[in-house]
């Protein structure tokens, strides 16, 4: 009898334990989050900053999305969103989506395949001349292989590609790829957008707040759990941190907590849940290779050899940043090269003295030395996260007879200045919307890209980029990707110093938060998050 009782009690306990996550979620409550700055607009397709994606991703849906229950975004972990399923044609040039029916936009109008076509026509410049759905497109290059979008029926749409491109689905799964409403106009999408997502925009007050409320007609039944999300724009970082510590906010802005600040936050709010993760944002150096003196490849090599990642990492990240090339290294990154391979490349070699000796030798052969230093400027955006590494870089350059002075550039004219080639050396940050070689290589290194700021042009590299892009075998593609990375490093195309790591904190009452570890731009749908209070 006792055994039977124990068995029943045990089974009951096991059942309760197993089922508790299902029953535990509570409906309701307002999530209060601090926002670091004023989003330039609410239109995700028109912007290239997490300041827009993090608050507004919850307003939209994609066709497909990176699995929100997985920390690592990978091509194997893509799940349906507005599309119920998808299929490729045999030669992998046509990607057909079967769409959900019965989905409504926030204004009550029905969603259909026409909206999908409309969105990507706008992104590829094929939209009607009068359409202003998308006024500017920083990710034009993502869709350079997209030839057409055709509508089969209200629930079927096909993307026709010029050649096979396995990364295409990953790009559609990114937070940067929401489907827009065909009947909306650009001005509304920038100020009070409508989507099909779990939250509706109530108000976007510049410099003040963004208020979202639960979409009661959301097609995913039972979601979202939260009644509302209240973003407060608090430009002063100290005020944001103090607000979080005082319980004014339930969550910090993503990656807002630097390592020196993390100790403070934990000391003053011991129950805060904080997670440090790679942001897939890297610090890198821009070199004006078209003008003297850095038009000489030897000089560029000397500069790369002089780089020592350790001081950058220790001073700025207390040793938590990751060494890597332009793609995030494993385990968080899917495509980054292994450590042993990286350490054979200039700027990453473990024997620092040897690298410095070679760099000095090159400098001396070019006529520079302790008595005749090369005088130049390191230009950077006039923001602390850019200026700080620039100062460390200036210090390192002194070791190879380069005397550089800091030139802080007003952030509003930074890209204009860089693309106008009005700099010699620049300190830059680059964030990747998707952990995929195509988004990185095409955006930053392909000769046709708008965002190839250094105007790096190498026909051989262009060809290698296209080759890896079309390769369907994942392992073969990885090897091709590493070859591109090697070539970029050897060319000093945009030498990477660190892959940055930063923390995000939230209150223990906030449940279901799962940060994605290889892109800060994904996983902000907020539909599975709930408040236990």
């Amino acid at each position: 009898m006792r055994t039977r009782l124990a068995f029943v009690a045990g089974s009951l306990a096991a059942f309760v334990a197993a089922s508790s996550p299902v029953f535990a979620q509570k409906q309701g409550g307002t999530l209060r989050i601090s926002h670091r700055d004023n989003p330039p607009s609410a239109s995700i397709h028109e912007e290239a900053t997490i300041s827009v994606v993090q608050p507004f991703m919850a307003v939209f849906n994609n066709l497909v999305v990176f699995d929100p229950n997985e920390k690592i975004n990978s091509p194997d972990k893509i799940v349906p969103d507005l599309a119920e399923s998808w299929s490729w044609n045999p030669d992998q040039t046509k990607l057909t989506f079967k769409l959900r029916s019965g989905v409504k936009w926030h204004d009550g109008k029905p969603f259909s395949a026409k909206d999908v076509k409309c969105t990507w026509d706008a992104l590829t410049g094929k939209a009607d001349e009068k359409s202003d759905l998308v006024r500017k497109n920083p990710r034009k290059v993502w869709y350079s292989n997209l030839k057409d979008v055709t509508v089969g029926s209200d629930t079927e749409v096909t993307f026709e590609l010029g050649r096979p491109q396995p990364s295409f689905l990953s790009m559609l799964a990114a937070g940067y790829s929401p489907v827009y409403a065909c009947h909306a106009n650009g001005r509304d999408m920038r100020s009070k957008p409508i989507g099909t997502g779990p939250f509706k925009v109530v108000d976007f007050k510049r410099n003040e707040s963004i208020k979202l409320v639960r979409n009661p007609d959301y097609w995913k039944k039972g979601r979202p759990y939260l009644d509302a999300i209240d973003w407060k724009i608090v430009p002063n970082r100290s005020t944001r941190m103090l607000g979080f510590i005082a319980g004014e906010f339930d969550m910090t802005f993503d990656s807002d907590i630097t390592f020196p600040m993390l100790a403070d936050v934990k000391a003053q709010k011991a129950d805060a849940v904080c997670e440090a993760r790679p942001s897939n944002v890297n610090s890198n150096i821009l070199i004006n290779r078209d003008e003297p003196p850095f038009d000489k490849p030897e000089l560029r090599r000397a500069l790369v050899l002089a780089l020592d990642q350790k001081p950058f990492n220790e001073i700025l990240f207390q040793g938590h940043a990751l060494a890597g090339a332009s793609l995030l290294p494993p385990p968080a990154g899917v495509w980054g090269m292994p450590k042993e391979m990286l350490e054979t490349l200039p700027g990453h070699m473990p024997d620092r003295e040897k690298s410095l000796a070679e760099a000095r030798k090159i400098m001396q052969s070019l006529g520079y030395g302790p008595d005749k230093p090369l005088k130049t400027k390191v230009s950077t955006r006039n923001i602390a996260i850019y200026r700080d590494p620039a100062v460390i870089l200036i210090d390192q350059l002194k070791q190879i007879y380069i005397e550089a002075e800091l030139e802080p550039i007003d952030t509003t004219v930074w890209y204009t200045k860089i693309q106008g080639k009005k700099y010699t050396i620049g300190m830059n940050l680059t964030g990747l919307g998707v952990d995929d070689p195509d988004t990185n290589f095409y955006e930053n290194f392909h000769s046709t890209s708008d965002r190839n700021y250094t105007a790096y042009k190498n026909p051989e590299v262009d060809k290698m980029i296209e080759q890896q892009s079309a390769e369907l075998d994942r392992e073969k593609r990885k090897k091709l990707v590493w070859d591109v990375e090697k070539k970029l490093i050897e060319d000093g195309a945009r030498p990477v110093i660190n892959q940055n790591v930063a923390s995000t904190c939230w209150t223990p009452q906030l449940k279901g938060v799962l940060l994605q570890h290889n892109s800060i731009y994904n996983g902000w749908r907020f539909e599975d998050i709930w408040l236990d209070r």
């Binding site: 330039p40 900053t49 006024r135 005020t239 510590i245 890209y415």
Partner: protein, 315 residues
């Protein structure tokens, strides 16, 4: 008096016109315009996209046309469209004005209510321990930057009371709002109160040495009557001038305080608009500030007459 007022109002109109030209030209001399910034903020620098936005916003038109368009609208009460939010500028500016006005008013009230009486006490009790203490207090007020003082207040509130007096939700009542604004107002008004205190002290000391004060004392007037009826009224003229100047300077102090205390007022919004080169917002706000400063100056001049009957503004 009537003709003086007419001249004065004409001068005010001329000053506003001069300001409008100055701010309009200066904004366009600053490198980059909103089209550059909107495109730059997306990490691109495509000249075609910039030109398209510039055309849409009308900033590619000749500068003179743009000025006439703006001033013509302003005269008719049309402030134009904000470039960044793409909403009517009035809708962006109007809700923020009362917040900053209350904050500035409270800060000015705080600085006068603290500065004048403490300045008088300091002068009357010259070279006593209380005078030394008040002088140190006023010196610290002049030397502490308001952003630092604001942060100290926030840190102390979190540490000791577990709360933070920042503006995250709209206050439910006027009293709530005043309570919430009183802390930042004290932070921003502290510097002004210190200045007013020092000026009141030195002015009072000078007046207290005058013959008529001695006469008042010899007539048997009480100490309070001597200090407040005879001395303070005569010592107030320079103080009123400085209060007028400080009222204008408060705008500068508000920028920092609104940022630290997260108050969605006009001053913080103005800085943001300047960074984005949002011309309609900047131009209209600067004109509003200029108007307030001119009116305050006018009121100060009128106050001279009330304080010193000898002053007459001749026709």
């Amino acid at each position: 008096m009537g003709s003086y007022l007419t001249r004065r109002f004409l001068l005010m109109a001329l000053t506003l016109f001069g300001m409008s030209v100055l701010i309009f030209v200066m904004l366009r001399l600053v490198p980059g315009n909103v089209a550059d910034i909107l495109v730059d903020s997306a990490g691109i620098a495509d000249p075609k996209e910039k030109a398209k936005i510039a055309r849409e916003l009308g900033i590619d038109r000749p500068i003179f046309d743009q000025y006439i368009h703006w001033i013509g609208g302003l005269v008719q009460g049309d402030l134009g469209f904000a470039y960044v939010s793409e909403r009517p500028a009035i809708e962006e500016i109007a809700p923020r004005i009362p917040i900053s006005a209350k904050l500035a008013g409270l800060a000015l009230f705080f600085s006068v209510i603290m500065g004048v009486p403490l300045g008088v006490i300091s002068a009357v009790r010259q070279n006593t321990a209380l005078d030394y203490f008040l002088r140190v207090l006023s010196l610290s007020g002049l030397s502490l930057p308001s952003f630092w003082l604001g942060l100290l207040i926030l840190m102390a509130s979190v540490q000791w009371f577990g709360m933070i007096p920042i503006y995250t939700n709209e206050p439910r009542s006027f009293i709530d709002e005043m309570l919430l604004l009183s802390i930042p107002a004290a932070a921003v008004g502290f510097r002004s109160s210190a200045l007013i205190m020092r000026l009141t002290r030195s002015s009072m000391l000078e007046v207290l040495r005058q013959d008529y004060i001695r006469t008042a004392r010899s007539k048997g007037a009480s100490q309070t009557s001597v200090n407040y009826d005879h001395a303070l009224r005569n010592a107030l003229l320079p103080v009123v001038t400085i209060i007028g100047i400080e009222a204008a300077f408060l705008i500068g102090g508000l920028i920092v305080t609104e940022t630290v205390f997260n108050i969605p007022g006009v001053a913080r919004f103005l800085v943001e608009a300047i960074l984005w080169r949002d011309y309609p917002i900047v131009q209209n706000l600067v004109m509003l500030i200029a108007f307030v400063v001119i009116v305050v100056n006018f009121l100060v001049d009128m106050a001279y007459m009330a304080l010193d009957p000898r002053i007459k503004y001749a026709d």
